[in-house]
């Protein structure tokens, strides 16, 4: 069992997913250990309470366990795929919960530096660097652009709902989303250059 786990730890996410699809719990456990923290953090960021975040995260990972064969490496990383599942589950929860507004405050700039110390692999270090770049990129966005992105991605609001909330034409909301994403993307590209 120990050897099996050690072997799984040496594999990339994309190599683990076919094993997960084959119902290999060791491979699945490694995927959880790599991404469970980010998944739970995202769920908590969206739903705003720990018990629900726990439930959402568990649902998302069970979904991955039961649909691992559907991962398509040609369409993005395992982490992005998994986090998109968490996000969908969390937004589903928000939409099903009547009368309670989602938590909408954006993360503060020092957020990731407060992360509890874990094993610092190269991949983790790279991820932290990328996250720092992103925070910088978001920090540079005009508030009107960051707000619509925040409301859509973390709040689960449609562009028409955001237009109503902010008293703006729908075209303006969509335009701000585009400008904001383009700026973030541009900053990321510069950071990687």
């Amino acid at each position: 069992m120990l050897v099996r786990r050690e072997k799984a730890e040496r594999l990339a996410d994309e190599e683990l997913m076919p094993l997960v699809g084959g119902q290999d719990p060791e491979a699945f456990e490694v995927i959880y250990d790599r991404h469970g923290g980010a998944a739970y953090s995202l769920a908590y960021r969206i739903v705003g309470d720990r018990t629900t975040a726990e439930e959402v995260t568990q649902e998302a990972f069970i979904s991955v366990w039961r649909s691992g064969t559907r991962f398509d490496a040609g369409r993005g990383s395992v982490r992005s795929w998994l986090l998109s599942i968490v996000r969908n589950r969390a937004i589903d929860f928000l939409r099903s919960r009547a009368g309670k507004a989602p938590k909408l405050d954006f993360d503060d700039a020092s957020a990731l530096e407060q992360r509890p110390a874990t094993e610092k692999t190269d991949e983790e270090a790279l991820r932290r660097e990328t996250a720092a770049e992103l925070r910088g990129a978001i920090g540079k966005l005009p508030p009107d652009q960051s707000k619509v992105i925040e409301l859509a991605y973390f709040g689960g609001f449609s562009h028409s709902e955001i237009a109503q909330i902010q008293g703006l034409p729908m075209g303006t909301v969509k335009g701000r989303m585009r400008l904001g994403l383009e700026k973030i993307r541009g900053e990321l590209a510069e950071g990687l250059a």
């Binding site: 995202l42 069970i62 992005s80």
Partner: protein, 228 residues
Amino acid sequence: MSTADHNRWSDDLAAYLLGALKPDEAKVLERHLEECEHCRQEIRWLEPAVHALPEAVERQEAPRRLRESLMAEVRAEVRGAAAAPAPAARKRRWLLKPAMGFAVLALLVAGIVGYEVGRDGDGGSNRGSTIERRVEGLTVKMTQEGDGGKLELVGVGKLPPGKVLEAWVEREGQVEAVPALFVPDRDGHAETTIADMGGVKTVMVTEEPQGGSEAPTGEPIMTMSVPG
């Protein structure tokens, strides 16, 4: 296509990537993407910006019990306990409320199973614990297996990007999601397992985003009543 047209689509692409388009708007855009390489390139360019958003979230330490609970469930399934009912936490049910606005709910509440063509004497067959019917161009086979059942669909077309199939069962006036999401293989065959068929009156299947949904987000691709 003019520059102005592309600017309009560009605005939609950003909203699409952020999950901010309504389902019908997203479908229109997905149809456009199938034929527009320019927009597909723009999606590929912008996508990392959206994927990076969750990475900036303040990190929370996941409770140890989450990992323990998750792995316990996974290992139980491996040991063959998959037939046991799913834990209550994932068996959220939603009441049939017309105010929810789902067309599918209206179908169920009214008892109008308009999609079903496999009624007795209409090409369907019941062989012991197996029901096989033609429903909207699909062959649907439901096989009772102990307390549960296996739902098989034949003739399912290729799903849009990012979509999976999710089955739903209706019993006692409530609709529940079937936990096991599924997709068709290259031959258009798709199947899923329903752990508990007790009291189920209707089974239906919808296309949902990856990871599934808590409530159907669109019209079912098939709806079939289950004989009592």
